[in-house]
Amino acid sequence: MLFGKKRTDQIAKAIEEADENGYWAIVRKQFYKNRLAVWSLRLFYGVFFIALMADFIANERPIYCILNVETQRDTTDVKLDTLIEIDTILLNNDDKFYDSQNTNKTLDQQVEVPNRYILKHELKKIAYVEIEDSIQKSQSNKLMSRKIIKYDTLFINTSVISVDSTKLSYFPIFKQYFVDLGLLSWDEIFVSTKWLEHKYEFAIFPPITYSSTTRDARNNKFKSPFGPQEFPEDSNGGWHFLGTERIGQDVAAGMIHGTRTAMLVGVVAMSIATFIGLFFGALSGYFGDERLKASRIRILLNLLAFIMAFFFSFISNGYIISDMIGAGNLFSAICVIIAWFMLVFFIANLLTIPLQKIPFLGKKVTVAVDIIIMRLIEVVNSIPLLILILAIVAIIEKPSVLFVMVIIGSVMWTPIAKFIRAELLRIRRLEYIEAAQAFGYSNFRIIMRHAIPNALAPVFIAIAFGVASAILTEAFLSFIGVGIPDDQVTWGSLLRLSRDKFSAWWLAVFPGFAIFITVTMFNLIGEGLTDALDPRLRE
């Protein structure tokens, strides 16, 4: 707006050029010199891909299948006692219909007809002849489905089931996503029969034909990947590439789905940690002990607001929140808490504006944020991380991976906070920050737009190492069987199973190797970043 279009273009071009030789470009170049780190990064993409596509790599459901589905137009409800009654009558009367051979013949003929008509039990055979007549008469697909046969003085209600067989094609894995969301539901045959036991016309299965929780009853009790495994003739189930465990769950499938859990824990936990760490680190680093000045009334009201928000969310509505968490709705519980906090803080800061006009209340005082936050960090660091996580996990009644992620994240933020604090303590003295302050930008804007982007470099290192230790912690927790639900298959829980049976070496070797590779991968990326960001090593 201030400059003409030409000038704006020039500036944009200059920025573009600066980007090519900018800080991050150099870091990138430096990082790519470290071959191990680059390979780790590539491996990370691969592992991430596996985690994303876990459902398409190991699943008991086919990716695509064609199935002969028999749709039933009418269902019958013939009671057994009626049947018996009829039977006895027939025996007594010695009717011409009661010729089993004869009816059997008709039945055989009937089968060849594309649209079959099946009748239940003995009774159906009797009713058959009459119905066959009706077929011949009508010669159409749509036929009456119910017939009343009058026999002697007795009325017999016979229901005729007409069965259509149609070839239907499905994309079960995709459909499962919609089912999980509650948008669709499975047909009855898919619920009553296991996926691997269907007779498919045509099916494309994932490379591993088992989900992490599929139990292969024929191959339970620790089947070795190289030993004999039992499969029936027409089985859809593939070879257990990495063997099975006690209840017949496929180890390879468990590992593939464990990848997802591990990546999820790493990413979510570190996102939480980064958020908390950036918040506290930026606060203490940018303001230090002397820069945060606020009017007395603002400090007072904000403190009060904190107490009141705590009161409203944890005491007045404590049971509501705890019931929500108990039911597994951690996310909505957090939303409710945040809503309360925002509401109360909003009101408090709104009240500040008129009250600040009073000279005594409006007087500015400094708040030593740095000291407070450093003490907080010291408290968190004083308790061994694992013991702290274990103690917090222990108070949760219903274990879930979500809680584990949140807990790991809310405990591991201290290194990030420390890094960002150290960087900001340096950056805040630089001239461009002073310039921004001179412009009269708000502190929030300066921190978010000018200070933090330049302080992020060391945070990336902390995040890379943090992801490694978050994954390791999750694996450790599931290894000792704390905090992860029993039916969830993770690398750690698979490794734990190996202690039950020493001869099952595949349980000891593969899951542990996966943990090792992932942790090493992130450590190598972290190392690479450290080297790339180190100005001393830059030529």
Binding site: I307, R375, V379, N381, L385, L386, I395, V482, L495, W505
Partner: protein, 589 residues
């Protein structure tokens, strides 16, 4: 220097209290009732009045012993709706029900009124006699259920169920039926008069010093005045005596009733069967039995008298004496474990023994190997010996990244059984020592020691290698940093030998990271061996932490976490002091 240390220690104090508050708060958030855990079972509360009262008494006693009958903290920040003496309600599930009801309706007076009525009805229903068994038992069970029900549907259902049963047959239950009307009226009053606004009015209540946190931290035992505990000893003595006498008395009671039964049989035999009427042997038996009974009765009287005297003294004394829950954490009283009522200090002491043994060797070995290895590998890098440098770096990196619980499992699976061949069964599968050897007095001490080492070899290895790799890498990194400095060049220029340059001038300055790490050694030793001790079934600290956290044995968890925090802080202080010793440039001003 001295001032600095004092200052640091002064900073510890608030940190220490914040940590204790954190852990205390966690234990308060944990579900479950510790008193019931200690009592070992769930408390039914169904039966005669005496049973109910005795059950409550026993519960209150255990709660008092654990210090759980007090308000939890010095002050309470809560809603105005909650009554200030909620902690006086005996049982935790009752407290929970009351506060849930208050949370639903906000009317604490009405809720307390309803609760007290419920309690009365419970006693009355326990007193009922002469009514049909099924009716009384259903009534009692529904009343008992009402104590832990706060949802409207559940309460109404139980009340209706009670009424339906009461109406079947009112013999002996008329009182309860009248009370039922009162109860439902009170419950409807709660529902009709909700005061939810009270839930949104904050209040602060001050409880003074006699609180759970204070008792745990400082104890309720007097600090400076000594306590006359002769009464306590006397009560304990009396209790043991009574405990000795009671079985003897029971045995005599039993023998008397047995002999009487025998006599009765003999008497009926004599009376009914004319064949035995003049049987001398039977009469003689009768006479001897009678004499025996007489003798026993004398004994019984003696025991009864003594018991009466002893229990009278005990009851009178125990009504006087003041019971103290704890001496407090600061005076080394860590309380008793919820799980087995053992003293926490004893449990931790037992566990610490193994952890210390393991970590002593682990730390020793890792430092002994890692420091020279780190320096050596730095030298390889400096002298351009690429191959060996790359190999050692890669090896150390892999060692550092290997999760110890994986290696522990692998070693356990392959080297402790004959599963993969006889020749691989090198180490024992689990435990810290062979119990046959430990109990055997004929075995020499050194054999036992060797046995322990044999058991602990794999665990120690698993703890060691990670620390070793980490330390070596740190050592190498800091050595490389130092060796590029100018003063090293000066030293070389002076013509000093390479060994002298490295070990005399560079080494001392590269010790910094090692010192920082040393501060974390103790707390890490505490928590680091959780998985290893679990894998190899060694009853050390990690194992204790894990089992007590999973069984919510908070006194043990409290103590361990507090010690870990204290050790971390002390470790930091020691590291700071060591800094000053190693590097004179560091000053504490």
């Amino acid at each position: 220097m001295f001032q600095y240390i004092i200052k640091r220690i002064l900073i510890f104090i608030p940190t220490f209290f914040v940590i204790s508050l954190l852990i205390f708060g966690l234990s308060k958030l944990a579900p479950g009732d510790p008193v019931l855990v200690v009592m070992g079972g769930d408390d039914k509360g169904v039966g005669q009045r005496a049973d109910i009262i005795n059950g409550e008494k026993a519960y209150a006693e255990v709660a008092a012993q654990l210090g759980l009958d007090k308000p939890s903290f010095y002050f309470q920040f809560t809603a105005a709706a909650y009554p200030s003496d909620l902690h006086k309600i005996n049982k935790s599930n009752h407290r929970e029900t009351i506060s849930r009801l208050i949370d639903l309706y906000g009317n604490s007076d009405a809720v307390m009124d309803y609760y007290n009525t419920l309690k009365e009805v419970q006693y009355k229903s326990a007193d009922v006699s002469g009514a049909s068994f099924s009716i009384t038992s259903t009534t009692r069970e529904s009343i008992n259920g009402l104590f832990s029900d706060y949802e409207d549907g559940g309460i109404v259902y139980k009340l209706n169920l009670m009424k339906d049963h009461l109406l079947i047959d009112t013999t002996g239950m008329q009182v309860i039926l009248d009370d039922w009307q009162v109860l439902i009226d009170k419950y409807n009053f709660i529902k009709d008069n909700p005061m939810k606004i009270n839930l949104y009015i904050p209040t602060i209540r001050w409880y003074g010093l006699n609180t759970q946190f204070h008792t745990w931290m400082f104890g309720d035992y007097p600090w400076f005045s000594s306590v006359d505990s002769t009464n306590n000893y006397r009560v304990a003595e009396l209790s043991t005596k009574i405990k000795e006498i009671v079985p003897q008395k029971r045995a005599i009671d039993n023998s008397i009733s047995k002999l009487r039964g025998k006599n009765l049989k003999i008497q009926t035999k004599i009376n009914n069967n004319p064949l035995f009427q003049n049987s001398d042997s039977l009469r003689q038996m009768l006479a001897t039995n009678l004499m025996q009974i007489k003798q026993y009765i004398d004994h019984q009287e003696y025991f009864n008298d003594t018991l009466a005297v002893l229990s009278a003294e005990r009851d009178s004394l125990s009504s006087i004496i003041v019971r103290y829950a704890s001496k407090g954490f600061l005076r080394g009283d860590f309380g008793i474990s919820y799980k087995d009522r053992k003293e926490v200090a004893v449990k931790i002491g037992d566990a610490l023994y193994w952890t210390l043994i393991m970590n002593f060797f682990a730390i020793l070995i890792s430092y002994l190997i890692s420091i020279p290895l780190g320096v050596k590998s730095a030298m390889w890098k400096l002298r351009g010996r690429k191959l060996i440098d790359n190999i050692s770096t890669a090896f150390l990196f892999i060692l550092y990244s290997l999760p110890s619980f994986w290696i522990g499992t692998i070693l356990l699976v392959f080297f402790t059984t004959a599963e993969y061949g006889e020749w691989l069964d090198w180490f024992p599968t689990s435990g810290a020592q062979d119990y046959n050897l430990k109990e055997n007095p004929n075995v020499a001490e050194w054999v036992k020691f060797v046995d322990i080492l044999h058991h602990l070899t794999l665990p120690i290895f698993c703890i060691t290698y990670g620390a070793l790799a980490y330390l070596s890498r740190q050592m190498r990194g800091s050595m490389l940093g130092v060796i590029r400095q100018d003063y090293i060049r000066t030293a070389r220029a002076k013509g000093l030998s390479e060994a002298r340059v490295v070990w005399k001038h560079a080494f001392r300055n590269s010790l910094f990271p090692i010192i920082t790490l040393f501060s974390a050694v103790f707390p890490r030793a505490l928590s680091g061996s959780i998985a290893i001790e679990l894998i190899y079934a060694i009853p050390g600290m990690g194992w204790l932490v894990l089992t007590s956290i999973t069984s919510r044995d908070w006194p043990v968890v409290f103590t361990i976490v507090m010690f870990a925090a204290i050790l971390t802080m002390i470790g930091n202080l020691i590291a700071d002091i060591l800094y000053a010793i190693v590097d004179p440039r560091v000053s504490f001003k």
